[in-house]
Symmetry: C2
Subunit: 333 residues, 2 copies
C-alpha cells in the first residue's frame, strides 16, 4: 500500500473499491424512494438522501458479502434496505429531537413539517421491508426486522433515560447498541448471510459491526465535549444543553462529591443551566478523567472490532474494515 493510499480515509477507499455496487445501490434507492401518487415523498427523501452522508452502513453490507465471495445481486437490495431504515430513523429522530440541522442543511421537519417527517419515515421503512422481501431469504428478514425493533427500543430508552442521573453505564450501552450499533451489526451480518458464510463468519461480522457501532457512538458522545463544529457537524455542548446523559457525564457523576452532584442535578435533571456551566462540566470531567476513560473504552471497542475480523478470509476489503475501525477512534486517539 503506497503512502498515498494511506493518506485517504478508509471509507473513501471502501467507496472506491465498491464503486460499481454503490452506484447500483444509489440507483435502487432513487427508484424505490419515489412515489407515483404523493410527490411530497420524493421531495423530502431527496432532500435527505441527496445531502449525502457517508453511506457507511450500506458499504458495510456490500463489503461483508464481497469479502465472502458473494457474486449474486441481493447484497445491493440489502444495502439499500439498510440505508432506507437509517434514513427513516433520521427523519423520526429529527422530530423527536426537534432538530434544526442535519448534515449541515435544515432538517425536513423544519422545511416541511413534523407530519411529513413522520409519514415519509414510515414510507421509507415500509419500502425497505418491501425491498428485502425480494431477496427471498427469511434469515435476513429476521435480522433486519429484529434490528428495527432494537433501534426503536433504544430510542425509547434514550428518551426515558435523558435527564435522569440514575442512568448507568449498562443502560448507556443498551441505548447506544440500539440507536447506533444495531444497524451496523445488522448491516454486516446480513452481508455475511446472503453470501452463505459459515456460522463463525456470520458471527464475526456481527461482532465487528456491533463493536464498530459502539466505538463510533462513544466517539460521537466524546466529541460533544471536545470537538469543533467544523470537524463533527455538531457544536460542543449540544448534548449538555439537551441534558443527555452520555458516557462522559455518567463517569463524572459516578466520581462526584456532594457539591458536584448538586451541580449535575441542577444542570441535567432540573435543566437550570447558566452561563459558565458547560465550562464547569468540562472542568469536572477533566478532574475525574471522565473524557480519558471514555476514550479508552472507545478504543477498546475498536480493538474488539478489529479482533473479530481475524475469523474472516484475508481480503483487501478486510484490511479496509480494519483501518475503518482504527479511523473511527483516530479522531480522539
Amino acid at each position: 500500500m503506497s503512502l498515498d493510499d494511506k493518506a485517504t480515509k478508509p471509507h473513501d477507499r471502501l467507496a472506491e473499491a465498491l464503486a460499481a455496487e454503490m452506484s447500483a445501490v444509489n440507483d435502487l434507492i432513487r427508484a424505490r424512494m419515489s412515489s407515483e401518487h404523493a410527490p411530497r415523498i420524493p421531495e423530502v427523501t431527496a432532500h435527505l438522501i441527496e445531502a449525502g452522508g457517508k453511506r457507511l452502513r450500506p458499504m458495510l453490507t456490500l463489503a461483508a458479502a464481497r469479502m465472502l465471495g458473494y457474486d449474486g445481486p441481493y447484497h445491493v437490495h440489502l444495502a439499500a434496505t439498510v440505508e432506507f431504515i437509517h434514513t427513516a430513523t433520521l427523519l423520526h429522530d429529527d422530530v423527536v429531537d426537534e432538530s434544526q440541522q442535519r448534515r449541515g442543511r435544515p432538517t425536513a421537519n423544519l422545511l416541511w413539517d413534523n407530519k411529513s417527517s413522520v409519514l415519509v419515515g414510515d414510507y421509507l421503512l415500509a419500502r425497505g421491508f418491501q425491498l428485502m422481501t425480494e431477496t427471498d431469504n427469511m434469515r435476513v428478514l429476521n435480522i433486519l426486522s429484529n434490528a428495527s425493533a432494537v433501534i426503536a427500543e433504544g430510542e425509547v430508552l434514550q428518551l426515558t433515560a435523558a435527564q435522569d442521573l440514575r442512568t448507568d453505564e449498562g443502560i448507556y450501552l443498551q441505548v447506544i447498541r440500539g440507536k447506533t450499533a444495531a444497524l451496523f451489526s445488522a448491516a454486516t451480518e446480513v452481508g455475511g448471510v446472503i453470501a452463505g458464510g459459515t456460522d463463525a463468519q456470520v458471527q464475526a461480522l456481527f461482532e465487528y459491526g456491533d463493536a464498530l457501532g459502539i466505538a463510533f457512538q462513544m466517539v460521537d458522545d466524546l466529541l460533544d465535549y471536545g470537538g469543533s463544529a467544523a470537524e463533527t457537524g455538531k457544536n460542543v455542548g449540544d448534548d449538555f444543553r439537551e441534558r443527555k446523559v452520555t458516557l462522559p457525564v455518567i463517569k463524572a457523576v459516578a466520581a462526584a462529591d456532594a457539591a458536584e452532584r448538586a451541580f449535575w442535578s441542577r444542570v441535567i435533571e432540573k435543566g437550570k443551566q447558566e452561563p459558565g456551566d458547560l465550562e464547569e462540566a468540562l472542568a469536572l470531567m477533566a478532574k475525574h478523567g471522565a473524557l480519558e476513560a471514555t476514550k479508552a473504552e472507545a478504543i477498546a471497542w475498536a480493538d474488539k472490532a478489529r479482533a473479530a475480523l481475524a475469523a474472516l478470509p484475508d481480503h483487501p476489503l478486510r484490511a479496509m474494515l480494519d483501518d475503518l475501525a482504527d479511523f473511527v477512534v483516530a479522531r480522539v486517539r
Copy 2:
C-alpha cells in the same frame, strides 16, 4: 338464524365465533408489545391496546383463513401483525392530526409526548414485521410490507390534499384506499394465502377487504357531517374544522356556483371559519345532494364487497362477513 342472532352486531358474532383464536391473538399481542428494557413502551401500548377498539382487522384475517379450512397456527401471528400495524398507524396519526382523543380516551401524544408516540409506533411496526417472519411465508411478508407502504403513501397524499379544493374523487379514493382499505384488504388476503387458497379465492378475499374498507371510510366521512359523538366517537364537523377535503365536500364543490365556491375557498383553503359556517356547509351539501350521493357510493362499495364473497366456500363465517358489509353501511342507510 334466530331473531336473537340477527339482533347482535355482526362483529360481535364474529368475535364469538372466533373467540378462542382472538384470545390467542390478544395473548400474542400482549407478549410481543412488552419490552424488557424500555418500560415506557408497554405503558403507551397498553393504554392504546387495552382501550379495546373492535379488533376488526385481526378478525378479518382469522375469518378468511378459517373459511378456507386453515388449521395451522400462523393466522394468529398474521392477525396480531395486522393489529400491530394498525396500532402503529394510530399512534403516528395522532401525532400528525394533533389529536386529543382516541376511542374516548386521551391520546398517547397528549398523555406522554409526540416523541413517545413516534418511537413506540416504530417499535410496534418492527415487532409486527418480526412476528410475520415467523410464519416463514414470503408471500404474506410481501403483501403486508406492500400494504405498509401504501398506507404511508395514502397518509402523505392526504396531508398534501388537505385544504386543497383541487382534490377530486380519484385522489380521494387513493387516499382512503391507502389510509383505510389497504390494511383491510391485506388482512383478508394474507388469511387466504396462509390457508393455501386458490388464486381466485385469494383475489376474492382481497376484493372483499378493499371494498369493505372503502365503504367503511366513506361512511366515516359521511357521519362527520351527520352523526353524533355518541354514535361515532367523533363530533360532527371535525373534518370541516380540520379542513379535510372528504367526499361530501368534493361533491358539493363540484356542483358549486361562483358564490358557493368562494365560500368553500374561504373555509377550506384559507381556513377563515366563522360561526354558522358548518351549518352553511351542511345546507350546501343538502342543496346539491352531496350526502345522498356519498351514501349511494358507500352502499355500492358494500354491495361490491358482498358480491366478492360469492367466490368463497359456503361457511357460517362467510355469512357473517356478508352481514358485516351490510352493517358497515347500515348506520347511514
